[in-house]
Amino acid sequence: MKLEIKDLSKSFDTKEAVQHVSFVVEEGEFLSILGPSGCGKTTLLRMLIGLIKPTSGHILKDGVDITNFKVSRRGMGFVFQNYALFENMSVLQNVKFALNFVKLPGAYGEEEGALKDAKLNEKAYLRDISITEKSINKVEAKIESLSAKIEKCADEEKKEKLEESLKLLKRESLTLKDHRDLVSEHLALVQKDIKKAEVKLGKALVAFEELKAKDPVAAEEKARTRYTDEEKEKIARDVIEKMGLTEYINRKPYTLSGGQQQRVAIARTLALHPDVILFDEPMSALDVATRLSLRKELKKIQKEFNTTMIYITHDQEEAFAMSDKILVMDTAIAVQIGTPEEILKNPANDYVKTFVIDNLKTKIKSLKKYVNIAND
């Protein structure tokens, strides 16, 4: 799944947590977002999954605008730093629990869902446009009254000041109009999505009716929207096995080590087959040995399922060891995106040089003298 992030921003009251961040993650790619604590990494990740609504900007998944989709309709998984397991349930129950509520596409559920999602987008954009229009009207009114004042004003000095404010207002009006036009463009795209989805839904309906007439049994099977108990059990056991947890299957999370708990959290995410998995510093509470083995496993999963992974970390070494691409963040802004090699060769600015490269070099240097001894 290709993920495109366009001009994403988020502000909390007066604080700008993320400012105009744009980047692309190709299908099956492993992207690390590297930055110090408090730079807005987690806010960015939470916007991608939909736990936080962006103030502006868009998220596209394989070309479909998912900015306003419900969290569970984005086909994404999320792994938390503190595992967030259900402590009262066993490992198996933890993984199985969400499967109870999974809605399979059924007869034409996928097409129906796509139409609903697109309509959600349309609604959000229409609202944004209407709010912006109102702001534009207000600013225009202010411009009008101010222009009138300036015409009447005799005092040169005062006039100059007023003209300065007028300039600011005009600029504001322009930015607002730009924003409106941009959202309108997205609205047009979304409205196209809606039309497409309607056609698709119509086709799916016809196809299902035909199937019903031809083969009622197959139609009934296709119309099923829930997993059977056997299916749930199998899916859960498979991912648990994949994460190497079979022997702990009936244990409660609090009896497991941190690394094992994080594996359960990953298994729980994998059970729903997300095509993008987001990781919020998942290893920061783990010891070095566990980290190393979990790193390998994540890369294995990424290859096996061709899953797109976005991974937040403040650890330069971790980012360089695991990533196909790294996005370097400074406070609220994205500074550079590129492969580890590109970043090493051409750091975008001094910040990247010091925060990423120098820190990495120091780490390597401090251990260099032991490399030979260790090799012996």
């Binding site: 921003s9 502000s11 009251d13 999954i49 736990l51 103030t55 502006s56 969290v71 569970s72 994404m76 998984g77 999320f78 938390f80 503190n82 595992y83 967030a84 397991l85 259900f86 402590e87 009262n88 349930m89 629990f97 969400a98 509520f101 999974v102 809605k103 944004d128 709010i131 912006t132 109102k134 702001s135 504001e172 930015t175 607002l176 924003h179 009936n250 244990r251 409660k252 009896t255 729980r268 729903l272």
Partner: protein, 544 residues
């Protein structure tokens, strides 16, 4: 983006309520209606004539105020001293049978305050067991009776609070101090004292409020000495003079409110410490002292319960000590049976309603945080600032003419409000400690909030729920404060029969009632204990 300005304005209004706004407003309105409005109505009940007559120079108010203040002050000091020594003995000296001692020490918490006074009379009264044993002529009635009764009634509560303070004190600072060669006395002034200062002030306030607002002990053992709560009780319950009662109620609100505000501000500054290593002392002398104190106090508690047993089962104490059940028969031949059923029904329903409302409120304040949650949280703990007597008086003023008056509904309501804050705080803490991402996980995995609540959040706090249920139940069984204003012959709970028997000097029947309440509450505590142990064992077996 300039249009974000407008979005922001909308957001900031929205963010005050954030999630669950309708439920939050609904619960806030209910809490306001059943906690704050009655108190305001009570205050508006006061007129200037009543004020004049209460504060007139020769009114009974001033001596009662003085008695209240002095007895409470002395009782608080003694109570805290005993409680501190006990808490130290149980938590710091490595003695055995800690659990048994804790149970014995806290037994007095399971019976109404009035029975403590009664216990003193049975032991030290004119015909008391001890009085007769030592052929003493001194009498317990009056000032010192009130003091000792109040100590008996309050020290277990102080013990539990101080135990909590000592239990969570970290030993690592002391180890560091030892390593740095800091002398013991300096360790006390620079480590122990700053740590216990604020929580101890909270305890002092809590115990003072508890004693100063209680009428039970004084009513039974005070004799001619009267305190403010007794004046309130006599005015409002005896003579239906609610206006005078309201003035005294307002005065009694002051210490409770002060305690509440102190707690609020002391907690805000963050007094929680992270315990790396629990504190233990190993000296032998301390062990001997600890055993002596705990055994002594346990014996006194047992002696009082023993005195109830003697009174309840002897034909005519002290002249005829033959075993009999006639006092039980007498108590239950009248309306005792009905009142017992009332009590159990009220206790169960209060516990049920209380647990549900406390959980719902705590979920909204602890797990759906917004600006409004803070206000809701304050309202939820506001009942801490209202003594039971004052609450009862406020309720009788507001609900006297409504259809709920005279039914058990009003008693369930008043009990739920009266005992709401502690169980609410228990579940608030439990919810707050749970992983903050559970609802987000549900959202991501497509599990709706209700299912996360019922299948994850609630099951994870089941022990707390059991504790909360038992808290509401036990307190509803033994309370005589708020309910005394609202009970009629139709909805009277059993505990209030003690007041009645006291008044007619039928101590045998009062002892019967106290024993029954004690038995029921011990049974409830036993069930809680069993649930905990069985579950712990079960959990342990599952892990191996």
């Amino acid at each position: 983006m300039t249009n974000t300005l407008e979005l922001k304005q909308r957001k900031s209004i929205k963010s005050i309520f954030n999630g669950g706004s309708i439920s939050k407003v609904a619960i806030a309105v209910i809490l306001f209606a059943i906690i704050i409005i009655p108190i305001i109505r009570m205050i508006f009940y006061i007129d200037s004539n009543t004020l004049k007559s209460v504060f007139a120079s020769k009114s009974a108010f001033y001596p009662a105020l003085l008695n209240s203040f002095t007895t409470t002050l002395i009782a608080t000091i003694i109570s805290i001293f005993i409680a501190y020594v006990l808490a130290w003995a149980i938590n710091r000296a490595r003695i055995r049978f800690k659990y048994l001692f804790t149970v014995l020490i806290t037994l007095p918490m399971l019976i109404p305050s009035i029975s403590h006074g009664m216990g003193l009379i049975i032991l030290f009264g004119n015909n008391g067991l001890i009085t007769r044993l030592f052929h003493s002529s001194s009498t317990i009635y009056g000032f010192w009776g009130i003091v000792f009764g109040s100590v008996l009634y309050s020290f277990p509560v102080a013990f539990i609070m101080i135990s909590d303070i000592l239990k969570y004190e970290d030993q690592t600072p002391y180890e560091a101090a030892d390593v740095l060669g800091i002398p013991r006395f300096r360790q006390f002034t620079s480590i122990t004292f700053p740590y216990i200062r604020k929580p101890m002030i909270s305890v002092i306030f809590a115990v003072f409020t508890m004693i100063v607002t209680d009428y039970g002990v004084t009513l039974s053992v005070g004799g001619k000495v009267k305190t403010l709560p007794v004046l309130l009780y006599e005015d409002a319950v005896g003579q239906l003079n609610y206006a005078t009662g309201s003035v005294i109620g307002l005065v009694l609100l002051v210490p409770a409110l002060a305690a509440f505000l102190f707690d609020l501000f002391a907690k805000d500054k963050g007094n929680t410490t992270y315990v790396v290593k629990k504190y233990h002392k190993k000296r032998r002398v301390s062990k001997i002292v600890a055993y002596a104190v705990t055994i002594f106090v346990s014996l006194i508690v047992l002696l009082i319960i023993f005195s109830f047993i003697v009174q309840a089962f002897a034909v005519a104490y002290p002249s005829n000590l033959t075993f009999t059940l006639k006092h039980f028969n007498y108590t239950f031949s009248g309306k005792g049976g009905k009142y017992l059923i009332n009590s159990i029904l009220i206790a169960f329903l209060t516990a049920g309603v209380g647990v549900v409302v406390a959980c719902a409120t705590a979920y909204l304040t602890a797990r759906m945080k917004s600006g409004f949650s803070r206000l809701l949280h304050l309202m939820a703990i506001a009942s801490l600032a209202i003594p039971g007597l004052v609450l009862g008086l406020a309720y009788v003023i507001v609900f006297k003419k409504s259809f709920v008056y005279g039914t058990i509904i009003i008693l369930i309501m008043v009990n739920t409000v009266h005992f709401f804050a502690s169980p609410y705080l228990m579940i608030y803490n439990a919810f707050g400690k749970m992983n903050e991402n559970l609802e987000d996980v549900g959202n991501i995995l497509g599990i709706n909030r209700w299912r996360i609540i019922t299948r994850v959040v609630v099951p994870q706090s089941k022990f707390t729920l059991v504790e909360m249920f038992s808290y509401f139940f036990v307190n509803s069984m033994m309370t005589i404060s708020a309910v005394s204003f609202l009970a009629t012959s139709a909805n009277k709970p059993l505990a209030l029969m003690i007041n009645q028997y006291e008044a007619y000097n039928k101590l045998e029947c009062a002892a019967v009632v106290a024993l029954i309440i004690l038995l029921i509450n011990v049974a409830m505590k036993g069930i809680v204990y069993l649930i905990r142990t069985i579950n712990k064992k079960h959990a342990y077996e599952k892990t191996i």
